[in-house]
Structures are given as structure tokens and as C-alpha cells.
């Protein structure tokens, strides 16, 4: 179907025949390149029998001629045009100046970017406060539908996965602690260990990590795509505030939903711990439930729920901030989603440390 490109050297003349196109030369490329190299320096080239010459083949020839016209060239006018196009191109294109990465400059730009993000988040926070003030004066503008959608999507739909993870973590901690406690003969302290660690610390942090990965990334991606497709601009032209209708319900919704998921996950994790303690230490479920209020002051529950509120707020704020920074290309979308999740988890751990320091005297049972 395709005339195979051929090259013959006949008494000092190089004769090319067949179809010299990218598709045709590709299968024979190494052979043709060898033959062209062998013909190097030939003065006379006959291309009159070439049925088709495209620019890929023209570049191949032009390079074989070392970027100069041969002394004698027999070629049709159309194909000469193709070669002239190639010949008119500069041999090398100007090189891009290579950006040198300087350590100090890199650190500085990193810091500037972090400050820029911080500033962006403060602006977003300020806008949120303004919106809340507006809602106080005009309660009818409250985006109830969007709010309930957020609570359903990031709260109700997260229940199964958080329950599964919570239950397994409860079982794991109970088993590991039971091994240690039994060797000390302090079996009964399993209630204290499980109660304090799960309600005060593990429950909220575990949920925060899960929700940051699940709902945080979804929020960033959603706002990002709404920016790509100009939906946000469309909202603005209809006189609907993007912060009031898109950002505020997400932040409020997750702030409301998080403590509820924390409560649920902590309960399931305790259940897992109770089951494991029953199997491993023969501690009855009833004993566990009876002793939980004594071993764990109720302040721990409040601290756990308080963490839930703050974590939910932080995750949603960071997710919305990065979502609004998405530029109209796919690379930026993926980069900002990654950043949102990583920043949210880091911020949650940071806030958790602050909580630990501030509440160090509260809710710790005195023996």
C-alpha cells in the first residue's frame, strides 16, 4: 500500500525512491540512517522519483546533508518547497536560560508562599465573619440547602468508614495495652487507658485525618472545578456571593458535622476496645461501662468535642482557601488538592498540640 522509501547509490549519484513520509520511514529508520550516513559527502542527489516527501523526512535529509544544499539536486518543485521550509529554520533555537536554584532564594520563596497562604486564609476568615454579620441582619439569606448538603455529604456519608477505622483502632489499642497491663497485674486500668486516649486524643485526630482526606480534598476539587468551568463567575454575575453560597456553607457544615462524627467514632472505638478487653482480659462489658465515668472525667468528652469543632473549621477553611487558588489548568487542580490535604492534616496536628498544652490541667483523673 505504501511505497517503501529506498536509497541507492548509483555511480556517485544518490537516488531516492518511494514515499518519504514519517509513517513510511519509521519502520526502516535505522537502515535508512545507515545508508544516509554511507552516502555522506555525495555531491549529486536525485529525488525525482520520490512520490511523497513530508517535513519529517525533509529534516532527516537536511541533517544528512549537514544543513547545506548539495551541489546537484534533482527534485520536483513541490518537494523543493518542503525542503526550503526546513532550510529556513534556524539550526538551533535559542536556549531557555536555566533557572538556577539558590538555597536562600528557594527558602525565601517557600516562606513567601506560606505567608501568602496565611494571608489568603486570614482574608477568607475575615470574609466569613462579614458574611456571618450579614446573615445576622438578613437571616433569610442563610444558605440552608447548601449547609445541609455539606452536613450530609461530609457527615452522614462518612459514618461507615469512620466507624470501621475507629472500631479497628479500638481493638488494636486494647490488645496492645492488655498485653502490658496483664504483666503488671493492672488489668482494670484498661478502662482508664482506652477511655482517656480515645475520647480525648485519638477520636478527634483520627476523624480529622480521615475527614481531611475525604471531605477536604472533595471541597478543594469541587471549588477548583467550579472555577475552571467559570461556575463561580456565573454565580457572581447573578448577584450571588460566592463566599456566602459556596464557602460559608462548607465551613459551617463541617464545623457542625465534625464533633458529631468525633462522638460517633469515639463511641465505636470504645466499643471495639470493650470487645477486645472482654476477649483478652475477661472484663465484662457491664464493668467497663460502669467504670468509664469514674475513670474518665466528663471534661475529656468536652475537650474531644471541642477539638472536633476546631478541626472541622480548620480543615474546611484550608480546603476552601486552596480551592479558590486553583488556576485554569489540570496541573494546578491536582497540586492544590494535594496541598489542601497535606496542609489540613499538618494544621490539625499543630492545633492538637496547642490543645494538649492549654488543657494539660483539665480532665486528668487524680489517683
Amino acid at each position: 500500500m505504501i511505497d517503501v522509501p529506498r536509497l541507492q547509490i548509483e555511480s556517485g549519484r544518490v537516488v531516492l525512491t518511494g514515499q518519504w513520509t514519517l509513517a513510511a520511514i519509521m519502520p526502516e529508520l535505522s537502515d535508512l540512517q545507515q545508508r544516509l550516513a554511507a552516502a555522506d559527502g555525495a555531491k549529486a542527489w536525485d529525488l525525482s522519483a520520490v512520490s511523497r516527501l513530508d517535513s519529517a523526512a525533509a529534516v532527516l535529509l537536511w541533517r544528512a546533508w549537514q544543513q547545506a544544499w548539495p551541489d546537484e539536486l534533482n527534485i520536483s518543485a513541490v518537494q523543493r518547497l518542503v525542503l526550503e521550509r526546513v532550510a529556513s529554520q534556524p539550526a538551533t533555537s535559542p536556549q531557555l536560560p536555566v533557572r538556577r536554584h539558590h538555597l536562600v532564594a528557594a527558602l525565601g520563596s517557600l516562606l513567601l508562599r506560606a505567608l501568602g497562604n496565611l494571608r489568603g486564609m486570614i482574608v477568607l476568615l475575615g470574609q466569613l465573619l462579614l458574611d456571618l454579620a450579614h446573615l445576622l441582619r438578613h437571616p433569610a439569606d442563610m444558605p440552608w440547602r447548601e449547609l445541609s448538603a455539606t452536613i450530609y455529604k461530609s457527615g452522614a456519608q462518612a459514618l461507615p468508614v469512620t466507624a470501621l477505622v475507629g472500631f479497628l483502632i479500638g481493638v488494636t489499642i486494647a490488645y496492645l495495652s492488655a498485653l502490658q497491663l496483664r504483666s503488671l497485674g493492672a488489668d482494670l486500668f484498661i478502662v482508664n487507658i482506652l477511655g482517656i486516649s480515645i475520647i480525648r486524643e485519638l477520636g478527634p485526630v483520627l476523624v480529622a485525618v480521615l475527614v481531611a482526606g475525604r471531605s477536604g480534598s472533595a471541597m478543594t476539587a469541587q471549588i477548583g472545578v467550579m472555577r475552571l468551568t467559570e461556575e463561580i463567575d456565573a454565580l457572581a454575575t447573578m448577584g450571588v456571593s460566592r463566599s456566602l453560597r459556596v464557602v460559608l456553607p462548607k465551613i459551617l457544615g463541617l464545623t457542625v458535622a465534625m464533633p458529631l462524627i468525633v462522638l460517633w467514632t469515639s463511641a465505636i472505638a470504645l466499643l471495639g476496645g470493650m470487645v477486645a478487653a472482654m476477649l483478652q482480659l475477661d472484663l465484662s462489658l457491664l464493668y467497663f461501662v460502669d467504670n468509664l465515668p469514674r475513670a474518665v472525667p466528663v471534661a475529656n468528652l468536652y475537650i474531644g468535642l471541642g477539638k472536633g469543632v476546631v478541626f472541622g473549621f480548620v480543615i474546611a477553611l484550608i480546603a476552601c482557601h486552596f480551592g479558590l487558588r486553583v488556576k485554569p489548568d489540570s496541573e494546578s487542580l491536582s497540586a492544590n488538592t494535594t496541598r489542601a490535604v497535606v496542609t489540613a492534616i499538618t494544621a490539625v496536628i499543630l492545633v492538637d498540640a496547642v490543645f494538649a498544652i492549654l488543657t494539660r490541667h483539665i480532665g486528668v483523673p487524680s489517683l
Binding site: 519509521m26 517535513s55 529534516v59 532527516l60 529554520q89 489548568d329 489540570s330
Partner: protein, 251 residues
């Protein structure tokens, strides 16, 4: 070239759910033709184009590109087939993560047998063909205007030296002057590279200045297909309406 048609559609029917898009469409595109595919909104022009590309399968009927089935042939044949055609999507479909240069170089690099210097020369050549300079190669797609996106997409479509070029709404979203420039550009390239072109368009101006042949889709059928002058004279309510409405607007 060989006498076999570049594209041959036989008995194409398409159904989405219970709704028929096409019924029993037969069409041939010969080498060197510039075929304009017209029809009302929702008449399945783009669907037909996607079927020619093998991106969609028709419910019934057969499609032959260069005598091969774009959907059924094995991977290697399909690859060689795809390399013989270039596509210009309606919105350009440039890879937003790659610069203009890398976008055009992408199909060439995928061949895995050209060296970087060769690729660089070819990309510069294609940029030159669509009247852009090497400096434009460094820009990212997000930094381009609508007309430039079309040009870069055309350069990418031409990167593999295709014999067949498929254009989806080549001038949609361009102002009249740019659209005229783009049409001229496609015309010049079609002559110079000896391309067969199939284009979907709404624009009468594009149609009259480029197309040698016209195919009209209406009422789920191909109501006319042939040389431009003949098709424009066909007495069919859609064709009369289409050309009359557009002609009226031009005045």
C-alpha cells in the same frame, strides 16, 4: 494515491437509549477532498466525527478509514491508523500541564524513534506553519488566546504529518477576522500538505471558502452529500433554510 476512499461509512445507525441519532448513513470521502459536515444543533455531527475517530461505536453499520476499521483492528494496526490522521478538537484539548512546545512534541515523542534535535526542528516547523514563532513554544496553554489555542492545536494535529485532518468546529469562538485567517491557514496547509479534510462547522463562511464537498445531516439522515455547488442547489427544507438564513445574515 490509491483509489480506495479515505473514509467510507456504510449503513451507520446510532441510538442513544431509545432515541435515534443517525439512521442508515452512507458516505465516502475521497483523497484530496475537503468535506464540510453540516446540520442543525443536535443532529449528530460531532457524534459522527467521533465515530470516524473510533472514540464511539455506532449501533449498526461499518466504518472504514484507509480501508481499516478504527475500532476493531488490533492495537498495532489501530496505532498506525491513528498516526495517519490528525484531529483538531473544538476547544483545542491542549494538555494544560505541558507547554506549547511539549504539546506539539508529544505525539512525536510517543513514536520513540526520533531524537530531540529532530523533534525540535519539526516542532519549530509546525509552529512556523501555523504562523507562530519559537517564542510561543514556551507559553503554557492557559496563557494563550482563543485563536492561538486553535493554531497550536492545529500544529499538534499536523505533528505526525497526517494524510487526513478532522476538524471539529474549527472557527467557533473566533472573531470574523481571526476566523478568516484560520480558514486561510487551513486552506494553504491543505494545499501544501495534500491533506484530506473533514470538518464539522456551522459557519457558512468557513464552508464556502474551504469545502469542496458538503454533507448535510438532517432528520437523522444524510440528506445530501456531494460537490458544494450541487448540494447548495438541493431542494430540501433544511438546506434551503440553512443557506438562506446564513446568506440573509451576511447581507
Amino acid at each position: 494515491m490509491s483509489a480506495a476512499p479515505i473514509i467510507e461509512l456504510r449503513g451507520i445507525s446510532t441510538r442513544f437509549g431509545t432515541q435515534f441519532i443517525h439512521r442508515d448513513i452512507d458516505m465516502r470521502v475521497e483523497a484530496g477532498q475537503v468535506l464540510g459536515l453540516v446540520g442543525g444543533s443536535g443532529s449528530g455531527k460531532t457524534t459522527l466525527l467521533r465515530q470516524m475517530l473510533g472514540l464511539l461505536r455506532p449501533t449498526a453499520g461499518s466504518i472504514r478509514l484507509f480501508g481499516l476499521d478504527p475500532g476493531e483492528a488490533d492495537l498495532l494496526i489501530r496505532q498506525t491508523l491513528r498516526r495517519r490522521l490528525g484531529v483538531l478538537f473544538q476547544h483545542g484539548a491542549l494538555f494544560s500541564a505541558l507547554s506549547v512546545f511539549d504539546n506539539i512534541a508529544f505525539p512525536l515523542r510517543e513514536l520513540r524513534c526520533l531524537d530531540e534535535d529532530w523533534i525540535r526542528r519539526l516542532v519549530d516547523l509546525k509552529l512556523d506553519m501555523v504562523e507562530l514563532t519559537a517564542e510561543h513554544g514556551r507559553l503554557m496553554p492557559a496563557e494563550l488566546s482563543g485563536g492561538m489555542v486553535k493554531r497550536v492545536a492545529l500544529a499538534r494535529a499536523l505533528a505526525l504529518e497526517p494524510e487526513l485532518l478532522l476538524l471539529d468546529e474549527p472557527t467557533a469562538g473566533l472573531d470574523p477576522e481571526r476566523s478568516q485567517n484560520f480558514v486561510n491557514l487551513v486552506g494553504v496547509l491543505q494545499q501544501a500538505l495534500d491533506l484530506t479534510v473533514v470538518m464539522v462547522t456551522h459557519d457558512l463562511h468557513t464552508l464556502t471558502s474551504l469545502a469542496t464537498h458538503i454533507a448535510v445531516l438532517a432528520d437523522q439522515r444524510l440528506v445530501a452529500c456531494g460537490p458544494r455547488q450541487e448540494v447548495m442547489a438541493v431542494d430540501h427544507p433544511f438546506i434551503r433554510g440553512f443557506f438562506a438564513a446564513k446568506a440573509g445574515k451576511l447581507l
